[in-house]
Amino acid sequence: MKKLLFWLLIVVLSVSMIATFALAGCKTEEAAAVEEEEEAAAVEEEEEAAAVEEVKEEAEEIAIRFVIKTWSKDQTDNYELLIEKFEADNPNIKIDLVIIPWGQEYEKFTSMIISGDIPNVAESVDSEVGLFDELNIMLPLTDDQISELKGMGLDQSAFDVSTYVDGKIYNFSWLSWMYNIIYRKDLFQEAGISVPKTTDELLEAAQKLTNPSEGTYGFSWRGAGGLSTMMPIILTYIGQASWFDKDGNCLLDTPEGIAALQWYYDLYKTASPPESTTWGYAELIEAFWAGSTAMYANTTETVPPSIKKLGEDNIGVFKYPAGPSGKRFNLFSYLGYTRFKSGDTAKDEAGWKFLKYLLSEESLASWSGMSYAVPNAKAMDKIFEDELYKPFKEEYALIDVTPAFYPYFLPEWQGFEFRSTSDIEAMVIGEKTPAEIAKKWADEFTPAMKNFMENNTGFNPVTQKME
């Protein structure tokens, strides 16, 4: 019996190791195979080089790594399709797809970069440029490349938005996010409320819809955190799209800024579920679908699942209201593709080819069937011919709304969205006052901006561009 057990263990061990070996597709074996291919190809090349004038690199197999962060299965499948097509058209380039699951994408990608595991192309959010700019690992687009892209039917707004403060383009935007307020039309109708146009109206509407004994509330935030969903309100109180005045002082702790935080506090206290302080997106959307919260703020991509669940008639979208300044703002954020330095011109070239492919009209068009993308290929008008976005044309369009951006070129910005969560939570549970929080933030950002201005003369903190 014991002998049998012992041998069984040995067998299991060997089988598992063999199986894993086979499955894991031992990299060393693959690498060796690729090397062999390259050698063979190189030998052939040398013989033919005299006769044919071909670039030597093109006969070798080039492997480039493409990192994506999965946010849905549709997205992953579409990328795999696009990669297949690309590899078919370019047989000497192989794309090694690296998938990072949503929820840990920031943590994993930053760990990869720190450990030196730098890809060739990555799908990046806008703030990543600020994250990586000091590390000198990104490849900006050359002027030639920019003119090539311009000839591909991409919208001018994509170029404008993708230009970093130093005037170069590192992360080319192909998909933009705007934040709006999404509401339950049916609940609004029941309570006889119309779409609020000012912050006061919004507060009023939310309070009207709140009935704690029945468990219904007017407005829920994505937990107390979710700085992005608060930003348009703060900006409309401050009255401008930038956090800073012309001298680089952070405006968050001016009376206007504090008033914005106070408004947020009032809204939270009078119209949000008390337990939502630590809600994530999942809890929030469950409450929305269950009808216990009538409004929430988020990017427009969250709308289609709600429509799928509750029907078009019950879901509506409206823009952030105007505050005391009378101006409306919207936080603009985007997803794009960044290229990284590899030290190998062949790989950089291959990466550029792949980038062009991803930004081609046909590739971008492949996304429009999916509910989660507003591609930048077409001008804003054309986007709204899409069935999915037609109903919200007015709300999504940037008409009489000024787009605003985060100051992610400042090193202090890194991780601030996460850090601000605990500050906002402290305010909401009453441990700190809005004024204290505003001061804490200003104390961090004013010196940061002033420092940045010193090192980058000619930078205008109000327009956030070099002059």
Partner: protein
């Protein structure tokens, strides 16, 4: 007197059974909800007022789970990783534990403490150095990396477990065998280990379960979807915009099956049934 005893023990038995039922309810309570949800169609999820029992029972979540993620591929990967790690872990721990229990040697305490120290450092910070190391070893995006890491992490506990259990078995057992001409290692394998079966089963379970349910190292060290393990797959069902509760609950229910099967057999071995009477005699 005999009558009294049997009544008392009968009552005791009933109380014990009742307590067991109580504990079972406590244990299964969170899972029951998941279990029931896995049989609900999409339309019934998160409707207020909350209904516990589904109106329509459906198996669609189970049959269609592959629509969302390659579930069975992930399942298979996890099976391989967990089994391999468990086997390696048991083997390494058993030897180390034996050494700690039977021998007196220099540096015994140092070794013991260094085993403990490895458990004291928060694992999160080891991610980046491990990434660098694994790249040098060409083990990134390779299931072996997880197997080795899981083995390394479960050895300290296994060692201490085996040490404790070996200490409970008198050294005379092996010495008897050695007098009869067996080598120490042979005595270990042929005589002590069979008595240790409960410990082997416990250590195997521990390592297997630890590997089976581990998530973060998997995310960090695997890049291609076809290599992902089951926890990563379930993690992926929590999308950016919606949690696919139907598929997720079905996935969780199915992920428990190997553990239950493995443990059902393991716990039979934990029932020793063997007496250590050999020593007394």
């Amino acid at each position: 007197m005999a009558k009294k005893k049997s009544l008392v023990s009968k009552i005791l038995l009933i109380i014990l059974f009742f307590l067991l039922i109580l504990f079972t309810v406590w244990t299964l309570f969170p899972i029951i909800w998941i279990f029931i949800t896995s049989f609900k169609p999409e339309s019934e999820l998160f409707r207020l007022p909350l209904k516990i029992l589904p109106e329509k029972i459906t198996l669609v979540n189970y049959f269609e789970i592959n629509k969302y993620i390659p579930y069975f591929r992930f399942f298979f990967n996890s099976l391989i990783v967990s089994t391999s790690a468990a086997v390696l872990s048991v083997f390494s721990s058993m030897l180390s534990g034996y050494s700690l229990a039977r021998f007196f040697f220099k540096g015994k305490n140092t070794i013991k403490f260094s085993l403990l120290i490895t458990q004291m450092f928060p694992v999160l910070l080891l991610i980046v150095p491990l990434m660098i190391l694994l790249r040098k070893l060409h083990l990134i995006d390779n299931l072996f990396s997880l197997i080795f890491i899981y083995t390394a992490f479960t050895i300290p506990f296994g060692t201490i477990l085996f040490e404790g259990l070996f200490l409970g078995i008198p050294a005379e057992i092996e010495e008897c065998a050695m007098v009869d001409g067996c080598s120490r290692f042979g005595a270990l394998m042929r005589i002590t280990v069979p008595i240790m079966i409960p410990g082997v089963a416990a250590c195997f379970s521990f390592a297997f379960i630890g590997a089976w349910s581990e998530l973060f190292a998997g995310i960090m060290f695997l890049n291609s979807q076809e290599k992902f393990t089951l926890p990563i797959g379930l993690f992926m069902l929590i999308g950016k915009y919606e949690v696919l509760w139907g598929a997720l609950s079905a996935g969780i229910v199915m992920s428990m099956i190997p553990i239950l099967i493995m443990f059902f057999y393991a716990q039979k071995y934990i029932v020793s049934g063997l007496t250590a009477g050999a020593v007394k005699g």
